[in-house]
Symmetry: C2
Subunit: 198 residues, 2 copies
């Protein structure tokens, strides 16, 4: 898939001035594993398109415990849209789980310009409808599903990254302890080995 910047560059209707304007708004950045891209309360709200690597967003509660909200690997967009929706500072931290290469642009430009012009190749309605549906599923799972069902849903949502994310982060995403996750994985693995229907 083309990168965010490549897609924008091919927008056929733009004048050279508009193209120049975009190129000043979007830039490429290499980030090292562990580097923080956004903190809760930051004044600058941006979106991060992942060209290569893996990002995560998370909240930190009053006991300093991290709760992972989502992951974003290649071709995913990571952003805290609560900034744009409520005109407030972001609530989430965003950092790199792996060494990554990303494209960054201001959130207002992304929401007000890119998402509202399907010609850019990022249909806002499609992308946002999917995000709403994924979050709806996440809420329902958090309220009513067992830890094992939540883990299976994680594997469906993120089929490509389960092997790349440390177990403690998957546990944090699921809202369970690493020990509970280890037990679930053990059970699933044993059932697979013995040929039982999972």
């Amino acid at each position: 898939m083309k990168s965010f910047l490549e897609t924008l560059s091919e927008y056929p209707i733009l004048s050279s001035e508009e193209m120049q304007s975009i190129s000043t708004k979007v830039h490429i950045k290499k980030v090292a594993k562990g580097e923080i891209l956004q903190k809760k309360g930051d004044l600058s709200n941006r979106i991060f398109f992942v060209k290569k690597g893996l990002l995560r967003s998370y909240s930190i509660d009053e006991n300093e415990k991290e709760h992972i909200f989502m992951f974003a690997s290649e071709d995913w967009i990571m952003s805290d849209l609560s900034s744009h929706a409520f005109n407030a500072p972001p609530e989430l931290y965003i950092d790199a789980v792996e060494d990554s290469e990303i494209e960054i642009c201001p959130q207002d430009f992304f929401v007000n310009v890119v998402l509202q012009h399907p010609e850019f190749g990022f249909s806002g309605t499609d992308k946002l409808t999917k995000r709403v549906a994924v979050l709806q599923k996440r809420v329902i799972m958090l309220m009513s599903a067992s830890a094992r069902e939540r883990y299976e849903n994680f594997l469906e949502t993120y089929p490509k990254i389960a092997q790349r994310v440390p177990q403690r982060m998957i546990a944090s995403y699921l809202g369970i302890t690493p020990e509970a996750l280890s037990k679930i994985r053990g059970e699933m693995s044993r059932r697979k080995t013995t040929g039982l229907i999972i």
Copy 2:
């Protein structure tokens, strides 16, 4: 605020044929308290604009326990967008908490036509961005906030309906027992009476 149908009718660019086409798609319905508008797995996916009254959406787990996903009172739109996003039957049940008057239209028409034409007065990007932000907050609250913080967030999200919804439904939305909710309300009420800062 104008109703959904009234807003659509004023769309200035529509021809009389297009207007007629819309009027065949959107219809008004009076529903009685308790009436079910959508079941999990229904083949017909629709959106419900609330003119008067109160709807709720919810899932039912394998133990027949209800988990309330959201409420929608006057001027809110209720829908299960997972149908549209994943081309699958809806996951949620939707019914009326009060006698209500609603406008109904097919979900595909709403997402593909109404949301993609800001002239209708329903900017898809704005509405969906806000929904994403509200759901993000809900996930974070479910993962990391105390029951009392979740209740306070409910009162912020739904300031007008807290008095209209049965306590057992608020408890279901929060993911706690009615007894736990009653205790929280009692504590908050006592603190208010004694003048302590909440």
